[in-house]
Amino acid sequence: MKSSLVMARLLRVLGGWRSYCSKRQQERVSDDFVETLKAVVGEPNVSIAAAVREQHGHDESMHRCSPPDAVVWPQNVEQVSQLAALCYDHSIPIIPFGTGTGMEGGVNAIQGGICFNLTRMDRVLELNADDFSVTVEPGVTHKALNSYLRDSGLWFPVDPGADASLCGMAATGASGTNAVRYGTMLENVINLEVVLANGKILYTSGQGRRFRKSSAGYNLTGLFVGSEGTLGLITTATLRLHGIPEATVAAVCPFPSIQAAVDSTVQILQSGVQVARIEFLDDVMMDACNKYSGLTNAVAPTLFLEFHGSNQGLREQLQRAEEITQQNGSSHFTWSKELEERKQLWAARHNAWYATLALRPGCKGYSTDVCVPISRLPEIIVETKEDLKASGLTGPLVGHVGDGNFHCILVFNTEDADEHRRVMEFGKRLGRKALAMNGTCTGEHGIGLGKRQLLKEEIGPEAMETMRQIKAVLDPKNLMNPGKVL
């Protein structure tokens, strides 16, 4: 008798430890409901297996895993619509899921519900090369699209760190290293097919429309870009394409100080050089990257630049940029045109996330994402480095300085409650500093779970109320990704 009690307690403890994710809420999603889901998409396309649900309960951030009650894989927009209508009738939350590469806990099902994994819809529906537009389904990632486009002479320049789903990128308003010249998702999404919470299908710019500009009615496309799954499920995106540049040159340039590097950035932009990429890595990050990738770059604040254009135009751009960097005290300016060498030069920047984690193996990473007016960039970066020192935290800096956006990648031991607290407080302080400089608390990662308080402080009570009203109209039952953004 006694041993079985001990066994029962042991199993409860072990069970609790093994699945630190929250349990499936039996009351909300019954077995009957799962059967109705299977009737719509077929049995192989519904799963309640614990491992599958855990996999869909988190993204790349360090927010605790919150698995959904079930995961479904619809094959087409009609199925998405039917499933959404079912969830609406039973008041069950709906969580859209793409590649799970978000940075703010956007897919964590904190109120349970059904996770809609949309990646089995993975066709490039329509390429209109002469019109510079393409329509894709959620399963198409930006790398897959660029591979598809490679013999058309066109490309899609928004390139976040991960190989993310393009519809997911639309949902989070993603950006990347090319934003300084080509813009973010907001500037490059022409039309969206969205399934609303009640199953209705909406075309934000009108069905099948693909134009370079329009003045027709309210900008619904802009509303859904960046809505992080809280207003509807994006099942198709029509995107703006650009011509692949005739020639590309990459350059790396170390500086004696952060101020010099950022000043160079501002001056290069002011000089009219249409730089395609301008990335900043601080000395801590350069050291981490050298160690991780076995490189021998100078351990100093460094700018990584890339120029796109015709062969003649590039010579001029390079000359101007080099002059500016020299005036700001840069020691040397290494540049390259060949693809393999350019990849080598950029290797340091691309591996930044993993190089940072490698500084302290076993630790997790948390990336801040503030974006300020470019003129305030030197100030906030210098203040950030001082704050890091004062708080005793490891936080290499990497930034899209051309946009005034930088990431402080904090590596910390999640088990150490004190360090965890210091990291969270540092993040809040940094967010507030950016707000005080008329900036934003998130340049590209989104609000997700962790920045809802900062959003309130950033946009103010009137805008907040307006957002709430819009949400209430489009999702009266609050089923679309509840607990996020607002």
């Binding site: 591979s147 598809y148 490679r150 013999d151 058309s152 002479g153 490309w155 011509g243 692949i244 393999e340």
Partner: protein
């Protein structure tokens, strides 16, 4: 400036990213409406040929493709990457099914002699049939030396130093031109055809009967 002419074979195949489906009557794979592009190893061959021209080691790069009308798209891509001329050996859809390495190597060896080329650059294999035979057969028919699975190529005068990837590791051989070389993955990273170059190649590539 060298006098070397380079003949590059480019094959139109189903794009590597496509999920291949077998036809319901099991007679082959579905090709209608499926994305096709240049065989990746042929892209590497075109890139290497264009780089030889840029280094002024070659005078002219000629791209050749055998098959139905759509092969012209593949030739245009080669032109957009920097090839000077394209030759399309037209074969009907029905006959194209029976076109294999033996037939293609006969065509290539005849063209190599007609065009007086000093170097034939091919991909090591096509990703649809994985034959890995055309380069070797072409060399045999021409009685030219061959350097297959090339991961490095260096040309000095009429001597070609080829580093090959083989089962045991790497092997370096020296060939005297004229020769046949087949390209392997690590030889180079092919450039993307840029929009201005594609537009120019479309204008240039008005087919003339052969």
């Amino acid at each position: 400036m060298a006098d070397l002419r380079v003949l590059v074979g480019v094959k139109r195949v189903i794009d590597f990213a496509v999920k291949i489906r077998v036809k319901p009557d099991k007679s082959g794979v579905v090709t209608d409406g499926v994305k096709h592009s240049m065989n990746p190893f042929c892209e590497i061959a075109v890139e290497e040929a264009v780089r030889l021209k840029e280094k002024k080691l070659a005078k002219e790069v000629i791209a050749v493709s055998c098959g139905p009308l759509q092969c012209q798209e593949t030739i245009r891509t080669a032109l957009a990457m920097g090839a000077d001329r394209g030759i399309h050996v037209e074969v009907s859809e029905a006959e194209a099914q029976r076109l294999g390495p033996l037939q293609v190597s006969r065509l290539l060896s005849a063209l190599a002699q007609k065009e007086k080329v000093g170097l034939v650059l091919l991909g090591k294999q096509a990703i649809d049939d994985d034959c890995n035979q055309t380069g070797q057969m072409t060399a045999a028919m021409l009685d030219w030396p061959q350097g297959t699975f090339a991961s490095k190529l260096a040309l000095e005068g009429d001597k070609l130093t080829v580093e090959r990837e083989i089962d045991g590791g790497l092997e370096t051989i020296r060939l005297k031109l004229p020769a046949v070389v087949t390209t392997d993955l690590r030889l180079n990273e092919p450039r993307y055809a840029t929009l201005p170059n594609i537009m120019v190649s479309w204008a240039r590539a008005r087919p003339k009967p052969f």
